[in-house]
């Protein structure tokens, strides 16, 4: 890879690949390093100290590989380890929770936001805090079956549709009890963008869906522009200057590292990334 801007993307597993997928077209002149700490996933059931230690190790690895900017594409690590990561590295670090809350604040009229997330993320109340900082009330709904259903590949399955409707009905029941009127649904798990078609059918059209992959990609782009870190030339002009007539494929701008189970990473990962993956490299972080 050349010496263009290198962005490190970190997740405990595959879900963060939806964030990478959204980042790729936003920053056509950047290169990406992705770490999936698959040997130690899921982070959700672990203590804050353990999660912070794991996330810091991955962040330091990405910086050592030349990343000049880090995206924490993992809700649990964003909720519990963002300060520890910022203390441990000197490059800018952005997490998916703050970008999701900021985007919800920009569009919600009722100031009530429904956050769908894993149990661990809900228990942390990180979205409630991030939303409160923007003057929003968050109704956090734990949806523990959605990740396994997505990993089973049942993203359009009637069972998944039914489970989603049960979760949404439970959430709206809680909203009614609290006098809350959410007009925005924040997908607080990087797996959930794969359920967007089902969600659009299950929700009333008045409710807007905010996908943390897309909101994070947009925020990263703004932040890089504000910091003057974004390569000034567009990819096409860059390649025109080089005399090349085709932009490199997204996959050629990415390197993937996983801490375990390379086969599963490639098999599941391509579903999240939206295209097949280059060779995945094994990374040993110990533990």
């Amino acid at each position: 890879m050349s010496a263009l801007l290198r962005i490190g993307v970190f997740d405990s597993g595959f879900g963060g690949l939806t964030v990478l997928r959204a980042l790729l077209p936003q920053m056509p002149a950047a290169e990406f390093l992705y770490v999936g700490d698959t040997a130690r996933l899921p982070y959700g059931s672990k203590s804050q100290a353990t999660i912070a230690r794991y996330a810091v190790e991955s962040a330091q690895f990405l910086v050592a590989q030349g990343a000049a900017y880090l995206v924490i594409a993992c809700n649990t690590a964003s909720a519990l380890a963002l300060d520890a990561i910022r203390d441990a590295v000197t490059v800018p670090v952005l997490g998916v929770i703050e970008t999701g809350a900021a985007s919800a604040a920009a569009i919600s009229k009722s100031r009530d936001v429904l956050v769908l997330a894993t149990d661990a993320t809900v228990q942390s109340h990180a979205y409630a805090q991030a939303c409160a900082a923007h003057g929003l009330r968050a109704l956090e709904k734990s949806c523990p079956l959605l990740v396994p259903l997505i990993e089973e590949g049942w993203t359009e399955h009637p069972i998944t549709d039914e489970v989603l409707r049960i979760y949404l009905e439970e959430a709206m029941q809680t909203a009614r009890e609290r006098g809350s009127t959410p007009d925005t649904v924040l997908l607080g798990c990087t797996h959930y963008p794969l359920l967007r078609p089902l969600l659009e059918r299950a929700l009333p059209p008045s409710m807007q869906i905010l996908d943390s992959a897309e909101t994070t990609a947009a925020c990263v782009r703004h932040d890089l522009e504000a910091r003057n870190l974004l390569p000034p030339e567009s990819l096409s002009s860059l390649h025109a200057a080089r005399g090349e007539d085709e932009t490199p494929s997204p996959a050629s701008r990415c390197r993937f590292f996983a801490t375990d189970s390379i086969d599963k990473f490639q098999r599941l990962g391509s579903r999240f990334l939206g295209h097949s993956m280059q060779a995945v490299e094994l990374m040993d972080l110990g533990g």
Copy 2:
């Protein structure tokens, strides 16, 4: 706890508590130490070397706490780490896979066995090998949604019933294609005993269900008798001799250790054990 026979039971999480639940009435004069390596679950996505290292650490911990016999109540560890554990400790070690296969061999007439298990256990083909050693053909069916559905508490839910019927229909379709006629269903995951009522309704009455918790408890008892390790007196005669008029509660004969998330362990664990749990002790294995 007194100096009676002490049996160590190990799992990566809560599922092995179904095995402990079956062991308690089988050995009323024994005491039990249970380790759930919750900080590092699930084992299924990890490499054999990592799983063996984790399982050996827990096994050595149990022996250091006085266990004179070890039950590996975890399918993944039984599949991938049994030899490593036997090399690392001097006490007898029994795993759930060999006991399940031996029990199936004792009752199957068609010699075809349907094994329901997690994806990791199926990928290891440990049941196929253990069944083949008894002259049985195993049809291994991966059921990745069942553990999350059980952990969600939906053990009697229509969704779980529907998912189970989909998995069983897929398995029977494969059986027809192979000309296999299974008459026995082996529950190859320690979570699955909680689905026994649903399974009994979903399966034709001619098919027998073998629950690895019950088969393991029966095998442990036989093995202890054969090794002359079982305390000779029954609990009632023991307590009569001591002048006590009540047998101690099952919980008073158990100590529980978890490597992380004590709260979740107690909350979920009581569902698997069938009654509330004594205080769970935190155990730091590093990693």
